[in-house]
Amino acid sequence: MRVLKLVVWDLDETILTGILEEGDEEVNPEALRIVEQLDKRGVLQALATQNSPDIIPMAEAKFDWFKYFVHKEADWSPKSRKIRRILSELEISPLDTLFVDEDAFERDSIVAQIQDISAWTLSELKSYLDKADTSVTEESQLRPQMYREQKSRLEEQNASQDYEDFLRSCDIEIFIRPYEPQDALRVEELLTRTHRMNLGVLPVEEAIERLNQSKENHVLIAEIKDKYGDMGRSGVLHLRPNDSENAAIESLAISCRTKARGLSLAMLVGLLRHPDARFQEYHCRYIFNGTNRPLRMLLTAAGFKPERGTDELTLRAERLLRVDLPEWIALTYLPESR
């Protein structure tokens, strides 16, 4: 397992002590404690159960703890298919996903069918949590809530007649400001957990060390909010000046939840146009890490040109100024955190 982003739970004889269909509604207190603990840590949780789909509205009405699951799949299809739907809906890799089931056959079956997923018992998950680092950023703690807000956003979007009208109604705001010491944990989280929009040229430890080193380094943070909620600190850019005119991008990470609506481009352009980052030329190296092709596209969209025969790209500032930002995004530069 790479980073624990999602836990998919079995229901009968895992969260419940018995089988729901047989009338056994008693919850396993240890399982419930773990569910609550995971939610506080910002780990998303979903449910995949061999039960009639009718149980979902029933359980939502009856069990308060059902609210912790951001996605629920209940039907008679193979469990592996349900889990794949969950991964697809939440856009989370099996590498960052844990399946919990007290039945060894089920665990082994899922691992055999879904490459890279982990499958543990309750007791193994408890041991992991007991040993895991407990420091959690505010953004992480709110992650499950943000996914529920994202669902509302998508439901409204689907109902909207005109996508651009819908975007304008979202009141999307991006705030760009200099890095502050209290951002350290969130920046480390962004550099560790972001895969698709992460330059990732440096190992995370080295990236953090370089970021903290010289006063001349320019580190900028992007925060996002819209009418559905505050997504908090969603992007980081670390520039290392080569001289007064040129800078190298040492680190760049943009949270994947911003993938829709042109936000990623607006964030990157906003970061590079910050008054602290007014260079004539920007250079970066791009190395494919298996999942960060979206970032390569983002760099193209911002105007970065590849240097043939190398893994380097260059952006001239005048080109950056020509990038139009969508009118449905308000960009504000702040001198410090909100």
């Binding site: 042109g262 936000l263 990623s264 969209a301 590849p306 043939r308 969508p326 009118e327």
Partner: protein, 69 residues
């Protein structure tokens, strides 16, 4: 997106004309081009001047096909 193909002029900048054509739309476009023309578009060809407009993309694809994809 509610933009018809007929609304995009061949020389229009894709990123300016349709501001919801973002980097993920570019990724999807590149993947579809690779599939449709049975070619690989390497990262070093992901140049903003190539993927600027319908005309520049067309010229790139034609050139690549002539050179054997």
């Amino acid at each position: 997106m509610n933009v018809k193909a007929s609304q995009i002029a061949e020389d229009d900048s894709l990123f300016s004309t349709n501001k919801a054509f973002d980097s993920f739309a570019l990724l999807e476009l590149v993947l579809r081009l690779e599939e449709a023309f049975q070619m690989n578009i390497p990262d070093e060809d992901l140049d903003p001047d190539v993927f600027f407009s319908i005309n520049t993309i067309t010229a790139y694809i034609c050139d690549k096909l002539e050179r054997g994809g």
